[in-house]
Amino acid sequence: MFTQQLINGLTLGGVYALIALGYTMVYGILGLINFAHGEIYMLGAYLGIIFLAFFTAIGLTSYSFPLALILTFVLSVVFCSSYGFTIEKIAYKPLRNAPRLSPLISAIGVSIFLQNYVMLTQGATDKIFPHLFEKAGIELMGARVTYTQIFIIAASAILMLSLNLFITKTRRGKAMRAVAQDKVMASLVGININTVISETFIIGSGLAAVAGLMVAAYYGLVNYSIGYMAGIKAFTAAVLGGIGSIPGAMFGGILLGLIESFSAGYISSEYKDAYAFIILIIILFIKPSGLFGKTQEEKV
């Protein structure tokens, strides 16, 4: 029971962490809760279905399944990244200097738009996501771990590590951190703020697309409304870890996944969605800036 819940929790947590990274990166740089981020995740899942169906139709899946799978992931990531890029250009860029509420409302608008756009084009009913791996799994200390779960945990760990390397080691990552710290100063030393913001959206959306694909493969079902709950929970995870902090988002995501799966297993699964918020309220009550967050000095 314990190992099983731990594995389930890590699977969920990895996914939450991937989505939370997108939230936390955008928040760190723009100070904006990107409500449309959950919808990008949902789009990733739908694009996965579409591309897999396309590759099956042209016979690529029977020719080489791993190749089809990789292509599906790559194409979904590319499409979602371009969605993220476009959304930023249309809905957030004109509001760069507006009062804080404006981009938030704009984000809610984008989220409503995308949700209904997918509902209209793909239908309101659940869509079945094909199985990527065999149903069977391996036995691990009395728990059954499916190949999909192994894949999700491994993929999210690799992505998180490479993001961390990107942010801490590369020049672009350094620029990103500089912009997050101080936009004006960063632009004075020759960093193109617009490029950095676009990159943030592209990376965040790509991670959300991967998360969407993996969750769809895990549950086997996709619906146009899945983005909302996942989005809120990932945001909760980001806040839990201290929003703006990248390790915080990873930690918060995994913690949230574990909390959910353990409370669903040991307490009651009916309130599965509520535990996340209760924990959030408690944590914020104790440490208002989140677990990894820094308290900010405010000036008049």
Binding site: L120, T236, F277, I278, I281
Partner: protein, 341 residues
């Protein structure tokens, strides 16, 4: 002929430049300047409003009643977001608590409308206080997410506590209110009944917002640190704001339950919170007449778009984005109103 054309072009240019100025917030909709004109306009409007049930179709009155409930709800949120500058994304939770309190007090304990009303509203105000205590330690976006979480928790409890709230099936058979032994169940009667509450809400909120408390709220919205440094107890005033806003949401909830005679968790989703927030923003943060206008528009517009039902949410989504880009201060908001996190 050419002159006429030139004149026409000239006027149109004027109209366009006025419109541009309006969009950029340099001018705002002005109510009539002189007192007589203002009285005449008020009289005309009240005649139209009061006479509606006599010439209106039932469908129209129904929408009007719904608008009335939303006006009260949106005015409640306007206190929190518009006056005090605290973003609440789970405001519908208070509306839900109000509606369910009346539904439960009525169906389980058999209490009538007038007995349940103060109890329910008190309960909602209390829940506003309770939420405010942890939430007020937080700023801007953290507050938004905590209120969102609170809204979700309330909805999940209503949805899952089957033995108490009947879960997703909702509670039916709620009694309509009585006045002097007469049951208010006809649509026309309910319309006047709602109008009384709308007037009460607008009157009280106007008075409070013009008072010391209201000015303290606006000071907090404009600059919290500056206002605390001139001796405003910001925590206390934010607490009042939350509780006072929740009060009206609770009232709107009770009225909603009494009107529908049925409540279910479906009426209290996050989308509903967003809709109410849109009413406040469309009208103009902190503007009482603006929020009335915003609520009426956002109740009527979806009804008008029923023909193209599938596309109306697309329109709402893109409309929000465009509103924020072209007229972020809302239809009747002034230029001075800003929002800080």
């Amino acid at each position: 002929m050419l002159n006429m054309f030139k004149k026409y072009v000239g006027t149109m240019k004027g109209v366009f430049s006025d419109f541009k100025k309006y969009l950029s917030g340099r001018i705002r909709i002005k109510l009539p300047e002189s007192k007589t004109r203002s009285i005449a306009l008020t009289l005309l409007m009240s005649v139209v409003v009061m006479a509606l049930p006599f010439y209106g179709h039932d469908y129209l009155i129904d929408i009007a009643v719904l608008s009335g409930i939303y006006i009260i709800l949106a005015q409640g949120l306007n206190i929190v977001v518009g006056f005090t500058g605290l973003l609440n994304l789970g405001f519908v939770a208070f509306y839900a608590i109000g509606a369910y309190s009346y539904a439960l007090l009525n169906t389980k304990l058999g209490l009538g409308f007038w007995a349940s009303l103060p109890l329910s509203v008190m309960l909602v105000t209390l829940s506003g206080f309770i939420l405010a205590i942890p939430a007020l330690r937080l700023r801007g976006d953290y507050l938004a997410i905590v209120t969102l979480g609170f809204g979700e928790i309330v909805r999940l409890v209503l949805n899952n506590w089957d033995s108490f709230t009947k879960g997703p099936n909702g509670i039916s058979g709620i009694e309509p209110p009585h006045i002097f032994g007469m049951q208010i169940s006809k649509l026309g009667q309910f319309y006047y009944f709602i109008i009384i509450f709308v007037l009460l809400a607008v009157f009280v909120i106007r008075r409070v917002s013009a008072s010391r408390i209201g000015r303290a709220w606006i000071a907090i919205r404009e600059d919290e640190i500056a206002s605390s440094s001139i001796g405003i107890n910001t925590t206390a005033y934010k607490l009042y704001s939350f509780a006072f806003g929740a009060f009206w949401a609770g009232l709107a909830g009770v009225l909603f339950a009494a009107k529908m005679q049925f409540v279910s968790p479906e009426s209290f989703t996050f989308m509903e919170s967003v809709l109410v927030l849109c009413m406040v923003i469309l009208g103009g943060l902190g503007s009482i007449p603006g929020v009335i206008l915003g609520a009426i528009i956002l109740v009527i517009l979806p009804e008008m778009l029923r023909e193209v039902q599938l596309y109306r949410m697309l329109a709402l989504g893109s409309g929000l984005v465009m509103l924020m880009i072209f007229r972020p201060q809302g239809l009747m908001g002034g230029k001075g109103v800003s929002f800080r996190g």
